[in-house]
């Protein structure tokens, strides 16, 4: 309600950021998988004060039909911010910013998904920002990756994301809201950890080439760390559903015998 005041400095004389973090330090991250019952897959992320819920439905039938693709599933991503997620109430209708971010998130996730496995269907990813304190599109990708895995969508890997940037001339990792608003640049990025390839990359502000490359390298490292947190969250959610140590699989009915015929289908083993 009261107007936000610009902080006097973003990096203190001791080299610490306004919330006390070191330049390469991430905010505390909390991840939980399977938080919604109705959705096929879901996950919740709290990254500092940014709080987001991601839900996945799919693969499922696509309406409107004309968007259907014959050779793969259509990935549809809708990123929405709750009106009360920001200090100045956001108008309820989807903004152009939300629509751009929806597309950017879809582009970041698509390379990781085996959409070819489900032609003529849609995979819907819904992002609901409950509280926004900087880095929402990256936090959204972190949660959406988990929701996709939770829904059983086949993936090459999870997709970790983080926003790096610059404040008072110092390169920083995981921008908070203030740093995003009043800093010198914001570089959201997402990677495929298995290959190091980048699936999301945006930049604003002003960087020299060296600064930008260095910032991105910091981002890569942060993403690798976040990836470990993501894997951990998935494992925790499924811990109670995995067999106890030394379990014999005698009781478990499987049709592996018949499945072996399946893998003889042409092309299936080639990736």
């Amino acid at each position: 309600m009261s107007p936000e005041t610009k902080p006097d400095f973003l990096i203190s004389p001791e080299g610490l950021r306004i919330d006390g973090r070191r330049p390469d330090e991430l905010r505390p991250i909390e991840l939980e998988v399977g938080v919604l019952k109705t959705a096929d897959g879901s996950a919740m992320i709290k990254q500092g004060k940014t709080h987001i819920i991601a839900a996945v439905y799919g693969p499922r039938e696509l309406h409107p039909r004309h968007l259907t693709l014959n050779d793969k599933a259509y990935l549809r991503c809708v990123y929405r911010m709750a009106t009360f997620s920001v200090p100045d109430r956001k108008r309820p209708a989807p903004s152009r910013r939300e629509r751009e971010i929806s597309m950017v998130i879809a582009n970041a996730l698509e390379p990781a998904l085996f959409l070819e496995d489900f032609p003529r269907t849609v995979v819907d990813v819904f992002i609901q920002v409950i509280q926004a304190d900087g880095g929402t599109r990256c936090a959204a990708i972190n949660a959406a990756s988990l929701a996709l895995a939770d829904a059983g969508i086949p993936m090459r890997s999870l997709v970790p994301a983080v926003a790096v940037g610059k404040a008072d001339g110092v390169l920083i990792v995981d921008l908070g809201d203030m740093e995003d608003k009043y800093g010198q640049g914001d570089v959201p990025m997402a990677i495929l950890p298995s290959t190091g390839e980048i699936t999301l990359l945006q930049q604003d502000g002003s960087f020299t080439k060296e600064e930008l490359l260095e910032a991105m390298q910091m981002g890569m490292n942060a993403c690798k760390y976040i990836h470990e947190l993501q894997k951990d969250a998935l494992k925790r959610a499924y811990l109670r559903r995995t067999p106890e140590k030394g379990a014999d699989d005698e009781e478990y009915e499987d049709d592996l015998e018949t499945d072996l015929g399946e893998s003889a289908l042409p092309g299936e083993d080639d990736e």
Partner: protein
């Protein structure tokens, strides 16, 4: 296993739930890894229903379109049932006389590939329109466990509870029980299996739960009917010997 996790290197074959890259095999799903011979597979813990030829499914008729019924079998693909695969010829041209929107059927998937279908047929043992009873929806990934090795789990449930059931691979289970408490108990058993699908000795634990609950139900109904119940059980066991081949 989580997506991206390394499963194997070298001379292995990648099967369902995995992908290979640069000679290595990775998991593409959250699930349990299985190795048979040199084939690596990941069995998913969750997932929507993807049809396979030969699957027995329970579907709801959505609409009549000419000589076809469009059938909802769950999952992302809507199924089609042609009148020739369900009715004996000659049949009336208005096929809605035989089955219409809202009817529930047990059918078999006879064809499906990535481009077309799935297509269903009702010509086969036990395939028919279903009436009465109740449809329970469970996660399709848990159906193998509900059936059990060589049908052991589902047979146990059917005979102990004296119910009729048809288990669809698409995660739909049709249940017909003599009374509501028995029906609720059957549902409880299926939900228990769904939740504990990847634990051991599940058949025993489910059986035990059923016995305990049945005791409670009998006690609630009437102590004097114990003698009746015993002779009824003998009769029912006779019936079930035929039933189990379903």
């Amino acid at each position: 296993m989580v997506p991206g996790q390394l499963l194997a290197e070298g001379r292995y074959r990648a099967s369902g739930g995995t992908y290979s890259q640069d000679g290595r095999i990775y998991s593409s799903l959250v699930g349990l890894a299985e190795l048979r011979g040199n084939t690596v597979k990941v069995v998913p813990l969750e997932g929507v229903y993807i049809p396979r030829e030969g699957d027995l499914v329970i579907g709801t008729i959505l609409v009549v379109a000419g000589n076809n019924w469009k059938v909802d079998i769950g999952g992302p693909y809507q199924a089609s049932l042609h009148a020739n695969n369900a009715l004996r010829r000659p049949y009336h041209e208005d096929i809605s006389r035989y089955m219409d929107m809202g009817d529930v059927i047990a059918a078999e998937v006879i064809a499906f590939d990535r481009n077309v279908g799935p297509f269903l047929s009702m010509k086969g043992r036990g395939l028919r329109k279903l009436t009465d009873g109740m449809i329970l929806e469970v996660s399709p990934a848990k159906i193998p466990r509900i059936i059990g090795r060589r049908g052991s789990m589902i047979s146990m449930i059917k005979s102990r509870l004296r119910i009729q059931t048809i288990v669809g691979q698409n995660g739909r289970i049709w249940i017909k029980a003599p009374d509501t408490p028995t029906l609720r108990l059957a549902v409880k058993a299926f939900r228990m299996i769904e939740e504990q699908a990847h634990t051991t000795k599940l058949t025993d634990r489910v059986g035990q739960m059923i016995d305990e609950e049945l005791e409670k139900i009998r006690a609630a109904q009437s102590p004097a009917s114990d003698v009746e119940a015993a002779s009824e059980e003998n009769e029912a066991n006779e019936d079930n010997k035929e039933d189990m081949s379903e």
